[in-house]
Amino acid sequence: MPTDTPTAVPAPQPSGVRPEQTPGSTPAGPGQPALRPESGSSDAENMLQPVAALLAFAFPGMGHVFLGHTRRGVLILAGILGLFLSGLLIGGIDAIDREEDFFWFIGQSLVGPATFGVNYVHQHHFKAFDQSTFNSVRSTRELATSHQRRAARPNEVRVIGQKELLDDRSSTRQVVSIPYFKLANPNLPDQFPPNLRGLGRAKELGTLFCAVAGFMNLIALIDASYHRRAPRRQPTRPRTPKAVA
C-alpha cells in the first residue's frame, strides 16, 4: 500500500564525482578527514587573471606556471620559443623588422618583449645610414627626422663615424656617433656586412614562423587569463622513521 510520506531521494551527482568530493562539502562522516575545498574552485577565481595574463605576455608559458600548471607552461614555452627561434634561424635577424614589415611585426610582437628586443638590436646595431647622409647631415634634428636607417648591401661594411652636429635644443655643437655604410675593401679581411638580407623563401618562412609564434602566444595568453588555478597538493604525510633493529 503506497504511503504519502516522502522518501529521501539522494540528489543526482555528476558521473565520476563522489558526493563527498563536491566543493565546499562538509566531512562525509565520522572518522573521515575533512576535505579542503580546492583552491580556484570558486567562481571568483575563475574570473580574469590579470597577473597571469601579464606574465604570459612577458614570457610565453609563464602565465600557466604562475597558476600552478608548470608542465603545461613549459610545453607552451617550448612550442612558442621553438617557433620563434626557428624563424630567426631560417630568416635571420631580418625576419623581425618593425620599419619595413610593420604588419608582420604586429603579429610577431605578441610573443612579448623578446620581439621588441630583437627589433631594437636589428634597428640600432645592424642598420645604418647612407654615407651620403653622414656627409651631408648638419644637425641632430635633421639626422633624426629626415633620414632613415637601412639594411646593408652585400658589398658594404658598417662603420661608426664621429661628426660634430648642431644640437637644435641647446643651440650648441656636439660630437655625435653616427653609424653608416661604406663600400667594403675586398683586399682587407672581414670586410663583411653586419647581416645579409633575407630573400625569397627564407625571408617568407622566417617571418611566418615568428608571426605564428605570436598568434600561438595570444592563444596561450587568453587561456591563462581565464584559467583555473591548479589544485594545491595535499601535504604529504611525514614518513615514520624505520625502527632501528
Binding site: R72, G79, L83, S86, L196, L199, L205, F209, A213, I219
Partner: protein, 124 residues
C-alpha cells in the same frame, strides 16, 4: 662544384609529370653554402652566421620540409593549451602534426589539379 639539372618539359604537362619534375628538381638542388667565406660578383660573402643571416640554398629548394617543423611546433603549443589532461600529450601532438601535414598535402594536390586540369579546360 657546379650542379646542373635540366628537365625537359612536354607541351601538355600532366599531373604525374609535374610531380616527377618537382622531385627531380628537389633532388638536384644544391647544398647550403655554409662554413667558409665565398666570393661573389658583389664581393666577399661571409660564412653563415646563425640567427643573423638567413639560411642557405636548401631552404629555397626544399622549403616545404619546414612546414612539417611549423606544424610540429604549432601542435606542441596548441595541445598544451587545449588538453585537459596531459596524459597522452605526445601522442596527440603527433596526431595533430600528421593531420596538418596531410591536410596541406591534400590542399596542394587539389590546387595543382585545379591549376593543371580545370584551368586549361576553362581557358579553351
Amino acid at each position: 662544384m657546379v650542379r646542373t639539372c635540366q628537365t625537359s618539359r612536354p607541351r601538355r604537362m600532366r599531373l604525374g609529370d609535374c610531380l616527377a619534375t618537382a622531385l627531380v628538381a628537389a633532388a638536384c638542388a644544391g647544398l647550403p653554402s655554409v662554413g667558409t667565406a665565398q666570393t661573389s660578383a658583389l664581393g666577399p660573402k661571409p660564412p653563415w652566421r646563425p640567427f643573423i643571416d638567413p639560411m642557405g640554398g636548401w631552404v629555397h629548394s626544399r622549403w616545404y620540409l619546414l612546414l612539417i617543423v611549423l606544424a610540429l611546433f604549432v601542435s606542441i603549443s596548441y595541445k598544451a593549451v587545449r588538453m585537459k589532461d596531459l596524459k597522452h600529450y605526445w601522442r596527440e601532438v603527433g596526431k595533430m602534426t600528421l593531420q596538418i601535414v596531410a591536410a596541406m598535402v591534400l590542399l596542394g594536390i587539389a590546387s595543382s589539379v585545379i591549376v593543371l586540369k580545370f584551368a586549361p579546360m576553362v581557358a579553351r
